[in-house]
Symmetry: C2
Subunit: 350 residues, 2 copies
DNA sequence: CTGAAAGCGCTTACAG
DNA sequence: CTGAAAGCGCTTACAG
C-alpha cells in the first residue's frame, strides 16, 4: 500500500494551505465570511482527485466531532428473516451516504442489553442510532434521552412513536385491516384473529406487544365495518382444537402463520378450503410453505432505507418527519389464489 | 450528558502525568524499559473507575493506528437465513472483545462491489475484515493482498482456503458425506445428488461453486463406500420429471430442499415414503416446511464466533489457525423421523 | 480571498 | 519509576 494521502500532500501540490484544502473539500468554501476563488477550488479538487484522497475519519472525528458511524441495535435477528432485507436496505443506503453501519448486539428484548448497547454507541461516538426499542425503552423514553449524546439522532423503527423520537415504521393497524378485509371480501363471515394475549385491549400491560394491539385494532375495524362477529384466539392452532364456525383467520404473529399451515397439514385440514389463512410477511418462508401463504408484506427493505435516510438527515442537521409505510397484501394460495412458482436462487451454495 | 472524561482528568485527580495514565490503562505499565509502581497503578485504575472513563477511540486510532472496527462483507443476506445466526455470532463476540462491527454492503457475488467494499474498509482504517469472498477474489487472492492495509487481518468465511489467508468454515465435503451416508444407512440403494451443474467435476469452471464441488465429493465418497450407483441432477424437482428408481436425494443447494418438498406436496409425492430428502440447513425453514426436513446443520452462529475470534486475535498480533467446523446431521421427518413439534417464539411481533 | 495557529485526546519514544 | 513533548490528520475561528 502506498503511503496515505493527507491534506498536507494536497496542499503542497496545489500550493495552498491545509486550511484552504479542508474548506474546499468540505464544501465550506463559500460559507459566511469565508470565500475562496473558483480557480483555487478547482485546482484543489483536481489535485485531490489525482491523488485519490480520502479523509482520515478518525482525525476528522477528533476535530469535527463526527465519526460517520451509525449504530444499529435490533431486538431480534436470529429467527426473523424479515430482518435480513431490513439490514440490506440500511447498509445499502448508508454506504452510498458515506456512513458506516456499526451493528451492535441484538437485545432480545432485554432492557439491560439495550442500555448497554446505547451506552457503547454513545461512548464510541456514533453519530446516530437506529433502534428497535424494547418495551421498557418506550415506556421510559423520556429518561433515555439522557443516554445518547443527542437523542434527536436516535431513530426508532418498527415501533409506535415515543416522546418526540423520530420514528419510522409500517402501519400496523393497517396490516390488521387489510388482512381481515381481504378475507371478508372473499366471502368469509367468521374471521378469527390469532394473536390474542392477556391485555391486548389494555396498553398498560407490560407484556402486550403494541404492534399486536395495533393489528388487533385493524382487525376490529374491518369486522366492525362488515358487521361480523369477533373471534380471537392466542395462536392459530387453537382453532383446530375445538369446534367452531371459523372459516378464515388472520395470524398476526409472524411465526404463527407457518406454524398453523404446518399443523393443518399434519391434521388433514385443507387450506384454503377448510380454512383460509393470512399471515405476516416472513421473507422466503411464505413461499416455501405449502400452500404458499397469503401475507401482509412488511416492506422491510424499504423500511431499512427510510430509517437510514432519516438518521443521516438528522445527523446532517435536517428536519425529518416520521414515516409510516403502508403494508401491502400479497395474495397467494392460502386464501385461494393459484399456485405460485418460486425459483430458487443459486449463488455460492450457502 | 456530562462532559466527556479524558486522560487529563484522570491524570489531574490521580496526580500523575497523562502519559502514566495511558501506560497504566493500556497494560503497558511494565513493558520493556517502562516500570510504574504498584501504588500508582492502583490509584490510576481506581480513579479511572470512579470517573467511568472510556477512551476516545478516534484519538486512539489517530495515534495508535487502530480503529477497533472490524468490517464484514457478505456475499448474500436477503435470502439466506443462515446469515442471521452468523451475524448474531459475530456481533456477540466482537462486542465482548471491545470491537465494533462495521457491516458493509453485500456483494451478491459482484467482484466490483467487493473491491469497492474492501477499499472502503481500507480507507476507513478498519483493523480487520471478515469476508465471504466472490469467486474472483479466490481466483486472484494474491492480487487482493494489496487491497487491504494488512491482508493478514482478512479472514475468509464459508469458502475454501486461498493464498495464505486465514480461513474459517464448515467442512463441505463432510456435509455431502454425512447426508448421503444417512440415506444409505436407512437402506436406500439409489441416492441422488441434486446440485449438478456444468463443471462440477471441473474446478476450473469459473461458474462452479466450490462449496458444491466439495459436497459432491462427499456424496461420491459415501456412495463409493456403499458400492452404489451415482445419480446426479441439477435440481431436486428434476427427479419428479422422469421415471427413475431413486428413493432418496441429498439436495446440496440450500434452497433446493424446501423447493423440492413443496413440489412433492403439489404432485402428491409422499415424503419420505416415495422419496426421502436431506437438505441443507436454512434456519427456521427446515422446521416450517412439512414434512419437517432432515438437514445438514451448517453451524452458522458458531462459525460467526470463530470468525470473529480469528480476526480479533490476528489484530492483537496472535497466530491463528484455520478452522474447519464439522457439520451435524439433524434428523427430522423427511427421512422418516417422527414429527417434531416446534414452538414459535413470541417477542415483539415482527 | 487565504494562511498561520490552536486544539481535539490519545500514544510513544526520550529524558531524566 | 515518571514527566514533558512531539505528533497523528483534521477543523475552525481568527488574522491579515
Amino acid at each position: 500500500m502506498a503511503r496515505t494521502i493527507t491534506l498536507k500532500d494536497i496542499a503542497r501540490r496545489a500550493e495552498v494551505s491545509v486550511a484552504t484544502v479542508s474548506l474546499v473539500l468540505n464544501q465550506k468554501a463559500s460559507r459566511g465570511t469565508v470565500r475562496i476563488s473558483e480557480e483555487t477550488i478547482e485546482r484543489v479538487q483536481r489535485v485531490a482527485g489525482e491523488l485519490d484522497y480520502f479523509p482520515n475519519l478518525s482525525a476528522r472525528a477528533m476535530s469535527g466531532g463526527k465519526t460517520s458511524i451509525i449504530g444499529l441495535v435490533l431486538n431480534e435477528i436470529k429467527y426473523s428473516s424479515a430482518q435480513l432485507p431490513l439490514i440490506y436496505g440500511i447498509t445499502d443506503l448508508l454506504d452510498h451516504a458515506g456512513f458506516s453501519l456499526a451493528m451492535g448486539r441484538v437485545t432480545l428484548g432485554s432492557p439491560d442489553i439495550e442500555t448497554e448497547e446505547i451506552r457503547i454507541a454513545n461512548r464510541k461516538g456514533f453519530d446516530g442510532l437506529i433502534l428497535e426499542p424494547t418495551r421498557v425503552f418506550l415506556q421510559e423514553a423520556e429518561r433515555f434521552k439522557d443516554s445518547f449524546r443527542d437523542w434527536r439522532h436516535v431513530v426508532l423503527i418498527n415501533r409506535p412513536a415515543a416522546a418526540d423520537y423520530t420514528t419510522v415504521g409500517v402501519d400496523q393497524e393497517k396490516m390488521g385491516y387489510i388482512a381481515t378485509r381481504h378475507l371478508l371480501d372473499l366471502g368469509h363471515r367468521t374471521v378469527a384473529f390469532a394473536g390474542r394475549h392477556p391485555g391486548i385491549e389494555d396498553h398498560d400491560d407490560p407484556n402486550a406487544p403494541s404492534n399486536m394491539v395495533a393489528r388487533y385494532r385493524g382487525y376490529l375495524r374491518a369486522i366492525g365495518e362488515a358487521d361480523c362477529e369477533e373471534v380471537t384466539v392466542a395462536k392459530g392452532v387453537d382453532l383446530l382444537e375445538s369446534e367452531n364456525k371459523v372459516t378464515a383467520v388472520y395470524c398476526a404473529l409472524s411465526y404463527d402463520g407457518p406454524d398453523l399451515l404446518a399443523a393443518c397439514h399434519d391434521r388433514g385440514v385443507r387450506v384454503p378450503d377448510d380454512l383460509a389463512i393470512v399471515g405476516q410477511d416472513e421473507s422466503r418462508e411464505k413461499e416455501i410453505v405449502r400452500p404458499a401463504m397469503t401475507t401482509v408484506d412488511m416492506r422491510s427493505e424499504e423500511l431499512g432505507k427510510v430509517a437510514a435516510r432519516a438518521v443521516t438527515s438528522l445527523v446532517d442537521g435536517a428536519e425529518v418527519e416520521d414515516v409510516l409505510l403502508k403494508p401491502e397484501l400479497v395474495v397467494r394460495e392460502s386464501t385461494g389464489a393459484r399456485v405460485v412458482v418460486v425459483e430458487g436462487s443459486g449463488s455460492f451454495a450457502n
